[in-house]
Each structure stands twice: as C-alpha cells, then as structure tokens.
C-alpha cells in the first residue's frame, strides 16, 4: 500500500462542516493531506511525496437526503456502496455501479477513483450518475457544484471533473447521485472455452442482434475464456434476450449454459479476486475492437511471466485486468513492451498495484497525455501548495 494510515496523524471529521474546519486548519499548518475512504484503492498511484495528515471519511456515512420519487440520493462520502444499496432496496432502487469490494468501497472513494465493474457496458461509470457534489478545497473552502436534479447545465461541471481525480484536487464531502430501478429479473449465460477472436465476434453479434446485455465479463482460463453475458430488466425482455443470445452463440459454435446463483457467485469471486488480489495488478484500456490483438500481444506475454496469473476482461467496454505475482525479472521489459503496444494503438496500461522493486523501475501510470499542461494548470489552481496527495497521480500531479 502506498498510503498507510499509521504514517500521518489521523482525522475523522463527523460532519461536512468539521471536515472543512479540519482542512482549513491543516492548510494553515501547511500540512500535506491524504483523504481515505474504504481503503480499497491504496495501492493505486505513486506513493505521495509526504503525508502529514490522513483525513478519513469513515465518520461521514449518512444519507443526507433520499427522494425515491425523483430517483435521487445525496450521501456523505464515507458511506459504503453496500450500505447505500441496502437503504435503496426497500424502494426497489439501486445505484447502477458494481465495482469490487462493495462492502468496503465508499461512494467518495468510488468517485475519486472512478471505480466500476462489468455493468459499465450498460450504465456507464459513476461519472454518468453524479449530478451534484460538495467538495472541500485544500484551503478549506466548501463548494457545491451541480444540483439535485438529473438535468442541469448551470455553470461548469466541477463534479464530473472531480470523478477520477484521486484526491489530488479536493476532498469529496457529499455526492448526489441518479438512481435506477432494481430489475425484475436477472439471468446470466456462460459461454465456455472462447478464444479472444470469438469474443470479439460475439460482441459484434450482440450489437447486430440489438441485444442490451447488462454485463459481458470474460474470465480467463488458461489461453481461453469463459464469457458471462447477463441480462436484467423486465422478465419478458430478459427471457427473449436469453433465447437470442443462445442463437448467436450457436452461430459462433460456442456452448452456452445458464448459470445458477451459486455458479454466478463463483464467477463473481474469480472476478473480484483478479481485480483486488495479487502483488502485481495491471489494467489495460483500449478500444474494444483491439481485444484479440491485446490478448495475443499483451495479456498472453504478461501472464507467462506471472505466478498464479489471472485475467478478467470487459470486452464490450475495452478493458482487461491482470493480476499475479512477479517472479521473473523479465517482467520489467515485458511491461515496457506491453505498454508500448497498448499506447501505440491508442490506449493505456496502468499498473494498479506493484511491489516497490517494480515501482522503482517503471512508472505506474504511463506516458502523460498530450494535454498534461492543462492538468498541471488545474492542480496549480485547486492545490497551489501541492498538499493533496502530492505526486500520487499521473505525471506526479
């Protein structure tokens, strides 16, 4: 972990106002600050250059306002996704994101890391669901952006800019989110023993047949994949899509079987393990059409150099996750080569967790994007003294 809670003095503000006061005090003392939530993404990024104070959102876990009829909820940043879903369930509603570790991941953390799961292909990420936010800027200023209605173009969209900013611009204090109805039915088909090119053809056929899966998750097994395709919604639509997908799979010469609840949780576990366990973890993003190329030139060579290497992919989104333990020194040149391949065709390879000996030899983020000067300018404006997670983000932001 790049941030350990014992390294700095720990603050646990119990209200948004207290958080603002705390941060104003820390600003006066010129202390550096790392804001933490459920501590599920503390491997991500470079270790901050200095950590004087840790501000935890764990005591900021209230639902501030819930309007079921408007399908809108405002929560404090420290509430976990699981706690929130439990509050929404009696009204048959949910927040349509499914990142790993829902029992620990906080809404603030999910926003700060733009964390998502396989349902991204249908619902987008939390960036598509955030409608408002209260932040505390590094100088202690409380500021609100957006509102509590889904449609709103008053002023610049500061909340969406905060999504994925990894605690380097401000502390996220409250978040207002758009909700979705809980589906009446959910069914998942497994397609066994697929090659990467079959997966690509499957994705194209799903589009051609105008199907709308809620998730497409490929779980690597050796050089092949088992692909879980899920549908959710009203029963009639789900059942019709299952029949259509069986026909699509038959056309591709792939066996299908419907997964019962127990089998589904086995795949969910394999997925979560790959996303969250393993000393070395890598995320690859590229256009979905490149999946066969990425599989052959990036995923295969990297897995060959990992002990207990695993891979899961969201082939309709265009991301793949690799995890394992590095034992072979050739992993370093392999990572450089993999990144070169991914970036040269348009994409990114981010090392989301790594032991120090790897971090010392390869940048975890990759080549800073062409508009990096604008990112630096934003950092200068929001955090001119570089006190919020200094150096943790891309290019040392």
């Amino acid at each position: 972990m790049i941030i350990r809670s014992e390294v700095g003095r720990l603050y646990r503000p119990a209200s948004v106002g207290e958080a603002a006061t705390t941060l104003a005090d820390l600003a006066a003392k010129k202390q550096t600050v790392s804001v933490i939530g459920g501590e599920t993404a503390l491997d991500l990024g470079n270790p901050p250059a200095r950590i004087d104070a840790i501000v935890s959102t764990s005591a900021l876990d209230r639902v501030v306002e819930y309007a079921p009829a408007d399908q809108i909820v405002t929560v404090e940043a420290g509430i976990t996704l699981e706690q929130l879903q439990a509050r929404l369930r009696p009204n048959r509603q949910r927040l349509a994101v499914d990142p790993p570790l829902a029992h620990r991941a906080t809404i603030g953390g999910i926003v700060a890391t733009d964390a998502y799961g396989p349902r991204r292909s249908r619902y987008g990420t939390i960036r598509d669901l955030v409608v408002g936010m209260t932040i505390v800027r590094p100088d202690g200023t409380l500021a609100r952006g957006g509102g509590k209605v889904v449609k709103n173009v008053a002023g610049f969209d500061v909340p969406k800019l905060m999504v994925g900013s990894l605690g380097t611009l401000a502390m996220i204090a409250t978040v207002t989110l758009r909700l979705h109805p809980l589906p009446e039915r959910e069914r998942v088909l497994a397609l066994r023993d697929c090659s990467a090119s079959q997966i690509r053809r499957l994705a194209n056929e799903i589009v051609a047949a105008q199907l709308e899966p809620s998730l497409v998750l490929a779980v690597g097994e050796g050089e092949r994949y088992t692909v879980c395709v899920g549908f959710e919604g009203f029963a009639a639509g789900v059942d019709a899509q299952i029949v259509s997908l069986q026909a699509v799979a038959e056309g591709l010469g792939v066996q299908t079987e419907e997964l019962a609840a127990a089998e589904r949780s086995a795949f969910d576990e394999a997925h979560e393990r790959t996303r969250t366990e393993g000393a070395l973890r890598i995320k690859i993003s590229a256009l979905p059409g490149r999946f066969p190329e990425i599989d052959a030139r990036v995923i295969g060579p990297l897995l060959a150099l990992l002990e207990a290497g695993r891979c899961v992919a969201y082939p309709t989104v265009g991301v793949a996750f690799i995890a394992g333990k590095a034992f072979d020194p050739r992993i370093i040149p392999a990572l450089f080569e993999a990144r070169r391949v991914v970036e040269s065709g348009g994409g990114t390879l981010v090392i989301t967790a790594a032991p120090d000996e790897i971090r010392e030899r390869i940048d975890v983020w990759g080549t800073p994007p062409p508009a990096f000067r604008l990112m630096r300018a934003l950092k200068e404006r929001f955090d001119p003294e570089h006190r919020f997670n200094p150096g943790r983000f891309v290019g040392g932001l």
Binding site: G17, G124, V149, D157, E184, V207, G237, A286
Partner: protein, 448 residues
C-alpha cells in the same frame, strides 16, 4: 441584445482557428466562438470589440468506426446529419435537441445539449469521449480519447457544457448507439396537469425507464394543433407523449403498463400509434411546439428551468398563479421525465413595456425552480441571459471554484469573457474571508 462584433472570421481548419486565436490575442481582442447560433441563452452573442470565430465551415464527418461505435466530427456538423449518416447502418447519435436539424455538434458540446430522449440516454456529456481544442495561446491539444479511461483529469467533462469559455473545439469524438429493437409511443390527454404529473410519477415508480416523457398543457396543445395540424383534442388540460424503446418484448410490456397507468390516472383519450408515420407526426408536433406559439401570440419568451420530477404538479400550479397575477398567458411544453420545464411567456412587443415585464415574469419562474431545489437551466445554458441568476443558485465559493477551472484553461479570459459568471472574476486573486455555505445555513452541515 444587439452588438456588432469588430470582426467575424470563418476558419476552415484547426490550424486556421489556432492562427485566428493567436492574432486576436496579439491585438487583445476577446473571442466569441459560434456554431449555428441556435442557442437560447445568448452564449454565442458577440460582445463589444470581439472577434467572432464561426465554425460553420468546419462541417466534415472525419471518420466513422462502426466496430467501436465512435466517430470523429468537425464542430460545424449539424446534429441531425450525424444520425442521418449512421441511419443506413442501423445506428444513431442519441442527443436530440429540438433544434437538431440546424444546431451544430460544436454548439452541443458548448451547451451540453440534451433533448427529449436524454431521460434514458443522457446528455452530450455522456456521449462525447474526446475533443481537439485550441487553447487561449493558440496551442492545439487533444483531450480525452476514443478508448475508455484516458489518463489524468477528465478534461472532456470540464469542456463539455463550458459555453465556449475554455477553448475552441475543432474536433469532437462521439460514441454512437445501435438503434433499439423497437420503439412504441403512447399519447394520452388528461383533464388537468395534476393528473398528467401523477401519471409521470407513477410510470417512473413502476420501474419503467421511458426514452422520453413530454408534457404539454392546454395552451401549448392549442398552439401545436393550430400550427401543425395534428389531430389532438383541444378541450383537455394536459397531454403526455411517451416513448419507450429497447428490447421488443420489454417495450411491449412497458407500453402496456404505461397505458394502464395513464388510464388509472384519469386519462381521457389514449392513443398507441403503431404506424411509423403517425408516431413521427406526433413527435413533429412536439418538436415544433416553440415555433407554434407564433399562432397564438405575437411574441414569446422561452424559459428553461428544472425541478425535481415529483414537484411538477405543485410547480405548474405556482406558474398558473403567476400567470393570473401578472396577466401574461404562460404555455408549458416540457421534458416531464426529468423535470425540465420550458414555460413560454406570451407577450406582445408592440405594447410598450410588455417585453420587459414578460422577462420579469420568466425570471420569477426561475426563482420558483430554485425554491423547489431545482436549477436555472436544464439544457439551454447560462450564456448572457442567465448570468445574473447564477448568484441565486450558487454562492461565492461555488462560483470561485468554477472560476478556478476557467483560469486553468484561459487565465487571460479571452474566450467569451462576459458570459456565465454574474460578476467579473479575475484569475490569481485568492478567496477572501470565510462565508458560511448554503449547506451549512440549511443545517445539513456544521463546522465542528
């Protein structure tokens, strides 16, 4: 509202835009970017001594990638031409503002345009993945990207909806969608807007996510019937136009459920057109609603405000009260599914003082929206028209934070400098003394 710009330039390439920006900067002239000029908040209005950079000559579709459902466009491409280009292949571009036959993609990016169908599919911000922009010093940068999760801060989110104040967009990468298996439209009339509002709430509560739910009140229906010849009944209080789309079996299930709900809410006349032409005619009626006002009034003022969906009936009653008090007729035609109101204040500019008075009444409607926890604009933008009301929705800390974004992009404030912000804000000055935030004064938060 009329200002003659010092200069109008119509560049044809990104490089020409960059050279224009450098020249304008050299001469210290502010720049106002402009697309088709269809905006309803005056974002593209020239300001004193400015250079207007019109992007209407940059109207090429540069690349269509069907496999990944992405396309690269120049900013002057007309919104509807994007879907027209895709239609033969069974795809479409989701954001569909009512002005889509004339408005440009670049303008849509500046305003984060919506449309009737954003209830289910989201706004321009949800469909733009990358941009090429010319910055204040003339440098050309690409932000975002076609692939998921570009590295670093999400600059695309900052630029979409920034009303031409951060840079000039010269290329846009959008995500497009496969056409759904089926679409069904349900049209229903009601004795009152209360009942129509109740139907909207109950459809949403039933777990249905319609592609669109539009509401029209009595006055709006009269105007639409007079202008477009749709055969809608006139002796009603309100009408709903509902689209459900998606998987065929699910669409049928949802359309039947919606019909049952509108009937249980007291609907008078329920229609379920299966004929594509009849469906299209109904939507033509709705999309032509603003223009139709000309049939019942010499002039009208279009307002754009948002309220929580559950407050529709209450707010419409308040607007009716305002109409009675002020003596101005107010027609309502709006996106009920997301609470985005478009009250139209009808007036006659030939009567001295009436235009000004109509504007005052329209402003009062915004205050009603703010009081009900809504927004002063859902899709038309702040522009020149609503800058004065930003301070009623946001406090100084909020506006100061938005200004930080602007200063990061354009510290010299050469792009559209007089828009959006209620009072001039400089870059470089630090915020002063502490002022309690609205969430604190409302008791939602307190300083420990």
């Amino acid at each position: 509202m009329r200002v003659r710009p010092a200069l109008v330039v119509l560049p044809a390439t990104t490089d020409e835009v960059s050279r224009c920006v450098k020249l304008a900067r050299e001469f210290g002239m502010p720049i106002v970017p402009r697309g088709s000029g269809t905006g309803l908040s005056g974002g593209a209005l020239p300001i004193e001594g400015c250079v207007v950079i019109g992007l209407s000559r940059m109207r090429k579709i540069l690349d269509v990638d069907f496999e990944n459902q992405r396309m690269r466009l120049q900013p002057g491409v007309i919104n509807l031409d994007v879907s027209r280009r895709l239609a033969p292949y069974g795809y479409y571009y989701a954001p569909d503002p009512s002005s889509q036959s004339v408005c440009s993609i670049g303008g849509n990016v500046a305003e984060n345009s919506g449309g009737a169908h954003c209830l289910k599919y989201g706004f321009t911000a949800n469909h733009v993945v990358g941009l090429t922009i010319v910055l204040a010093d003339g440098e050309v940068v690409e932000i975002g990207g076609a692939w998921p999760d570009p590295l670093g801060y999400n600059l695309t989110s900052a630029v979409v909806g920034s009303e031409g104040m951060l840079g000039i967009v010269t290329e846009v990468v959008v995500r497009f969608l496969r056409r759904p298996q089926a679409t069904r439209t349900v049209f229903a009339t009601f004795p009152s807007t209360d009942q129509a509002g109740e139907a909207v709430s109950r459809i949403i509560a039933a777990g249905i996510v319609p592609a669109a739910i539009e509401m029209m009140d009595k006055l709006a229906i009269e105007a639409i019937v007079a202008a477009t010849g749709v055969d809608w009944p006139l002796d009603v209080g309100a009408a709903l136009l509902i689209d459900v789309d998606g998987i065929a079996a699910e669409v049928d299930r949802c359309a039947e459920a919606a019909i049952e709900i509108v009937r249980s809410c007291g609907a008078l006349d329920v229609r379920d057109p299966r004929d594509e032409n009849e469906r299209a005619l109904m939507w033509k009626g709705r999309k032509g609603a603003f223009a139709a006002m000309g049939r019942i009034s010499p002039n009208y003022y279009v307002q754009d405000g948002v309220i929580p969906r559950s407050e529709i009936a209450v707010v419409l009653r308040e607007i009716a009260e305002l109409s009675r008090e002020s003596g101005f007729r107010i027609a309502n035609v709006f996106h009920a599914g997301d609470g985005n109101l478009h009250p139209l204040v009808l007036y006659d500019e030939r009567i001295p003082g009436e235009a000004k008075e109509a504007e005052r009444v329209a402003a009062e409607i915004l205050r009603i929206c703010i009081r009900h926890g809504g927004s002063i604009t859902g899709e038309h933008g702040v522009g020149a028209d609503k800058a004065a009301y930003m301070g009623e929705m946001f406090n100084d800390g909020d506006l100061d934070t938005m200004n930080l974004v602007r200063c990061a992009f354009d510290p010299g404030r050469i792009f559209n400098p007089t828009k959006v912000f209620p009072t001039p804000r400089l870059c470089g000055d630090r915020p002063g003394t502490y002022v309690p935030h609205a969430v604190e004064t409302a008791g939602l938060a307190a300083r420990g």
